[in-house]
Symmetry: D3
Subunit: 139 residues, 6 copies
């Protein structure tokens, strides 16, 4: 039975800031540069969720895209879209909102929910800009 | 000797429908939603074929892109472009045209043809829309 | 008071066919080529609606994007998405579904609805593929 | 002597909020929806500046792209990138940062600077997201 | 009878150099910068041709896209693709290959050919890179 | 400790030619086709560098993007941008500038430099055109 990867792309627009309260402003500026701006900045983030599994012989689906999209919308997008990643998002509380950390936390949330649909979460990719993106595969 | 992956992107525009004759209309609508529309709908599909191999020391090529593109055009695109995936495509006969199943069947056709050019088919990716895509690696 | 153009992009996936019943198959094939395929083909259409007006001094908006998007969704996208443009769409009845004709009919529907929101419909653009698009400005 | 339009695309990432202090929260939410989020949100903005003019017979240029890009970087991008449009940008002080208003203010700044290079500013376009954009032509 | 704009996008890959033999190297470097590199550089150019006209009542077409694409391929793309714009292209002989000049020369070639198909050439747009593009409307 | 992949996209515009001096013109044309054009042609190349590593607990970064971008700019882009890959690039001397060979040579240069920043170079991807790309993973 063949295994196929399925990718679903979603979008959210959010504000954030890279800054450590336990560092001096000098240290913050040296490491985080313009990303440390006191009054925040923001991005149009693109999220791509990859699920791996065997197509169901009756439907030809790894997972129904309606279900996959609903899970991502409810558990991730509604909590991130038009929010401040540092202040408004419970699952990012006390976590520096680098794209790397954001991908890891999203993976942790989606992994058991995808499993409950008899498929396997393979990867979470996030584009912060067209030029900068990360991928986390749960490894 | 290093191994390199080569990707070739092609396009086809096709109609299809997700529907099982052995299910009630209610079941079809519940699982396939708007994709079950009786009079079909369609997509601009994007196909990306990935070939793996060692660059030929004389040409620097894994496989000549002219050859790779010719194979994909002749064996896949000409059979899918401006067609109905449910009715017009011999290699999809009796197979539900989900993107997953389409990727698997395309892989089966291309795999021996790429081998005959001394390279290895690594993956077939299909974008049904900008948001929904699949990848099959022959595993 | 300055005048600004506002663009809103939406998507629909549909099947269609370019074919005249009053022409021979030979004539149909000569003029419409692969687009005349008897069992239909389809596209991921992109629709861009351009509205022109003066920003409201209180909101900074030409028209509220929520209202504009709702109008386009209700009057256009829900009638075209996952449909057959030749068979399923009342406003395209007896009209050959070329991209040109589709843009003209969409303009006719949206024009009075945008006016009712105190703005002016400037243009309707449709991308049938990434390479082929049309624009109608009501002239 | 022919007249040509030259387009230059630049990017900036910023936070903003659509909110009026003289309105109730209910009014703000009704008109601005999620864009009124108290802790801001943000976007990857794309700015396209269009200049019109006759190509210089010696260089073939309407305006030297190095000069055009320098002007846009110095006068616009450095003031907007990684900033909060409501709090950090002198030229947006007391102006609601809708995309429409942002385009108008950018046009006002660039217009005399382009004229000083013997060309004419034709339009300022801003994409707030891939789906939402505005264009201001100084009319 | 409504008038519609039809856009056709094509691609060509070419080498070029911005350099005047009657200037010193210093002048060339000051004005043309890295574009003056003695051994050339190159681009993936995108060409968009816009035709304006009334849809033919029988076909719904401004101009048959097969005819438009054939004209552009034969008269423009085959003469530019995988060529050196300074050395290999008869219609650019003795013309500095700025994107502005290239658009003007392409317009001159296509204008009478489009007219012979009972439509009007409205504009020629060329993207030299994703960030830099020009448009010429024959004015 | 989780491992994350970080991707950075950069661009360069270059001329090149695929041609072997030890082959007849006939052989060159048969294998390399239009890419053998005597006066060169060129591309807007896109380079994507993928680095793998564990996020630093203090910064949330695999590698600081400023450092990664500086390395790629200094060691790769400045040597390739607005250059001739056959004539101007020391690290491509005597190497046929196929995209495959270019990716391998870039990997060799970046690998030790990324290691010096306590991360691992995972892959180098190059898009020669939107349709043709390669990936080398150092295997």
């Amino acid at each position: 039975m063949p295994e196929v990867y399925l990718n679903r792309k979603e979008h959210f627009n959010a504000a954030h800031r890279l800054h450590r309260a336990d560092w001096s402003e000098e240290e913050n500026n040296q490491i985080f540069g313009r990303c440390a701006n006191a009054n925040w900045h923001g991005h149009n983030y693109t999220l791509i969720v990859t699920v791996k599994g065997k197509p169901n012989p009756e439907t030809g689906f790894i997972i129904n895209l309606k279900d996959l999209s609903s899970i991502i919308q409810k558990e991730i997008i509604q909590k991130l879209d038009h929010k401040n990643l540092n202040l408004d998002v419970p699952f990012m509380k006390d976590i520096l909102p680098s794209t790397e950390n954001l991908a890891i936390e999203i993976f942790k949330i989606l992994d058991p929910l995808i499993q409950a649909h008899h498929a396997k979460l393979h990867a979470v990719r996030i584009f912060e800009t067209e030029s900068n993106s990360v991928e986390y595969r749960g490894e």
